[in-house]
Amino acid sequence: MAADLDLTPTTAAQGTRLPLYAEEHEALRASARAFVANELAPHVEAWEAAEDFPRDEVFRTVGAGGWLGLKFDERWGGSGPDYLAHAVWLEELVRTGSAGLNADLGAHADLALLYVDRNGDDQHKERYLRPGIAGETVGALGITEPGAGSDVAGITTRARRDGDDWVITGEKTFITNGAWCDWIVLAVKTDPEAADQHRAISLFVVDTDLPGVQQQRLKMLGWRLSHTGQLRFDDVRVPASAMLGAEGSGFLQIMQNFAWERVSMSIGASTAAQRTLEAAIAYAKERHAFGRPIASFQVWRHRFADLATRIATARALTYHALRLHVANETGHDVDPIALMRATAMAKLSTQRLAFEVADECVQVHGGYGYMMEYPAQRWWRDARLGPIGGGTDEIMKEILAKTYGL
C-alpha cells in the first residue's frame, strides 16, 4: 500500500477548543518527573517496609524543589498561583508508587495550606503558609470526628470563648498527617445552639505543641506510609487571632474548598489507574502461560482495552473539572452548579475505577498478586480508600442529586 495516502480529516484543522496545559506545563512535567524519580521513588520500597519516612527531610526536599508552592502567590514563597502547574505535579507524584506518601504531601499542600491561603489573613500566611511552602512545617486539616464525617454540620468539637481566647475541646479522627502535623486547620462549633447549624462552625489554626493536644497514629488497611491519626483537644487555649476567616463561616469555607480536594483526588486516582494498568500490562507481556505471554490471550487484551477506555473517560471528565476549576480561579464566570457537578462526578467516576483497575492488576499477577512481596496488593489496598475519603461515593451522589432537585 502507498504510504502517502492523506488520512487527515476533511474539516479544516483548527486550534483546540478544549485548552488545558500549556507548553510551560509540559516542561515542568519533565522536571517533576525527574524530581520524583531521583528524590522520592528510590526510597519508597524501604519506607513502605518500615511504614515510615523521614518527615522533615522529605517535606524540606519537596519544599526546596518548589513543589509545594505552585498554586500559591510569590509573596508567600510560592511560584503561582497556577493550579495547572500543581495538577502536573500531582500527576507526576503518582510515580512514587506510594499513595500513603502522596497523601501526606497532599494533605499538607492541597488541604492545610489551601485553607490558609484562601481563608487566612497575612498574619496566618506569614506564620503557616510561608514555612509550609518551604516544607519547614507540616499541616493537616481536621474536619472528621468519630461521630461525624461527611455530615459536617454534625461535628461536636467545640470552642468556647474565654476573655480574648477560645478554648477548644473535642476529638478528630482519620486526619491525614494528624499523627505528626505541627499545626492543624480545625473545624469546630463556635455556636452549637445556632438555629442554622451551617452557621455554627468556625475554623481555627491550632499549633499541636499547645498544652492539651494529643496526637496518635492509626493503623490502616492501606496508605501504610501515611501518618493518618486521631487528635484529642482537652481545653486547648488559642488566641482569637487563631480563627481562620469570619466566625460562623467554617461550613461555607469547607464547602468551597471541597472543589479542589475533589479535583486533586480525581487527578491522583485517574493517573494512578493509568499507572496501575501499565504495570499490569507490563507483567502480562512478561509472564508466559501455555507457551505464550498472557497478554496475548484475547480475554486479557479485551479486558485491558476496557480498562484503558474507562480510564480515558474518567480522565476526560477530570480534565473538564480541572478546566472549570482553573477558569473559576482565573476570574471567568463559571456556573457554580456546573462546577459542583463536574467535581463531584469526577471524584465519583475516578475513585472506584482506580480500585477496580488495581483489582484487575492483582488478578493478572495471579498468586504473585496476593503476595506481600509484590506491590500489586499494596496498590489494591491503597486504592480502596478512594471511594471513602474526601466524601464517600454515596455522598457524591447525594450532592449531585441536590443539584438536580432530587
Partner: protein, 396 residues
Amino acid sequence: MHTVVPDDAVRIGEPFTEEHESLRGAVRRWAEDEIAPNAEQWEADEWFPDEVFRRAGELGFLGLTVPERYGGQGGDYWSTVVRAEELARGRSGSVSMALAVQSDMATPPILKFGTEQQKQDYLVPSVTGEKIACLGITEPEAGSDVARIRTRAQRVSDGWVINGSKMFITNGVRADYCTMVVRTSPADEGDGLGWSGISLFLVDTDLDGFHVSRKLDKVGMRASDTAELSFTDLHVPDTALLGTEGQGFKQIMWELQGERLISAIGAVAGAQFMFERGLEYSRQRHAFGRPIGSFQVQKHRLMDIATRVGASRRLVYEACDRWNRGEYAINEVAMVKLDTAQLSFWVADEVMQLFGGYGYSQEFPIERAWRDSRLMRIGGGTDEVQREIISKLMGL
C-alpha cells in the same frame, strides 16, 4: 496569560461558540417540531418519507462541514456535534441514523477522495438532500473483517463489472447511489491480511444488475430501511472508481473514523435525553406516598447515569477536538465508540427499570429507545472489534 477558555466560548468549559448555539437552536426546533411528532407513526410504518432528507438539506443540516463551493456551510466539526446532539430530541434513532449515513458516512469519502466531477454529481445533490446515499461495506459473509469481502469488480474495456452482495445496508432500499467497497484484485499474498486489492466505487442504484434483494426486519430502528443488496453483472463506467484503485481498505478505514465518531456523539446525546426523561418521570411518579425520585436508590441510580453520561461526553468531546484539529485519532475514536455504545444501552435499560411497567409497554417510548440503542454495540464495528483495535494500539 495562559487561559483554559477560548475567547469565543459561550459557556465556560464547553467548546461551543455563538454560531454553534444558534445552529443548535435551529436543529432543535426542527427535531422537536417536525421529527418528534411523527416518530411513532414512522416506526409503525417501518419507513419515514424521503422528504426528511430534502428538508434536512434545505435547512443546511446535511453539509455542515462541506465547503461552500459544494453547497455546504463550511463549518468546523463542532457544528456536526451540535447537529447530532440536538437530533436526539427528534426521538427517532432511525432518522438520526439515516441522516448520519448520508452526511457522515457515505459522502465524506467523496469529498476526501473524489474527483471534481464526482463531487458535482454525488456530493452536491447529497448536501441538498436530492440524492440519498448508502454505504456498502458489510456482506453476508464479512462484516468487521473488511479484508474478506467477496464482491468483485472485473475490469472491462469501458469500465468495471461488479458481482456480489452487500448486507445490513442502512438507506439501502431507497438510496440513489451506494458508496461501495469492492475487491478489484485478489488479495496480495504478501500482506497476509487481504488489505490490498480493495477499491471504492460510487454505484448508481438504478443501473441494470443492481437489486434490492430484501428489506430486512429488525428488532429496533424500524423506521430506517435496511437492505440486502445483490449485484449481477452490474456495469459501471471508469468514472465510478472513487479514489485510487487498490487503496480502498485505507480509504474505508478513514471513513470508519467519522462514522464511529458521529455514532458516539449520537449515543451520548440519546443517553442524555433518556436521563432527562427518567429524571422528569422520577419527580412525577408517586409510589408509597412520595415521588419515586425521593427514594435514595432511584436518586443514586439517576446520579450514576448522570455521571457516566457526563464522563462519556467529555471523552467524546476530546476525540472530536482531535478530529477538528486534523488528527487521525484512531485510538480515541475506538474508545468513544466502545464506551458510548455500552453507555446508551445501559442507560436505556436503567431508565426502563425506573419506568417500571410503563417502560416495558409501547405507550412510552422507552422500550423503543432500549431496542434502538442495542444496535450501537453492533453497528459501525462491534464492541469486540473496538477492543481489538484499542488493544492492538496498546501493543497487545
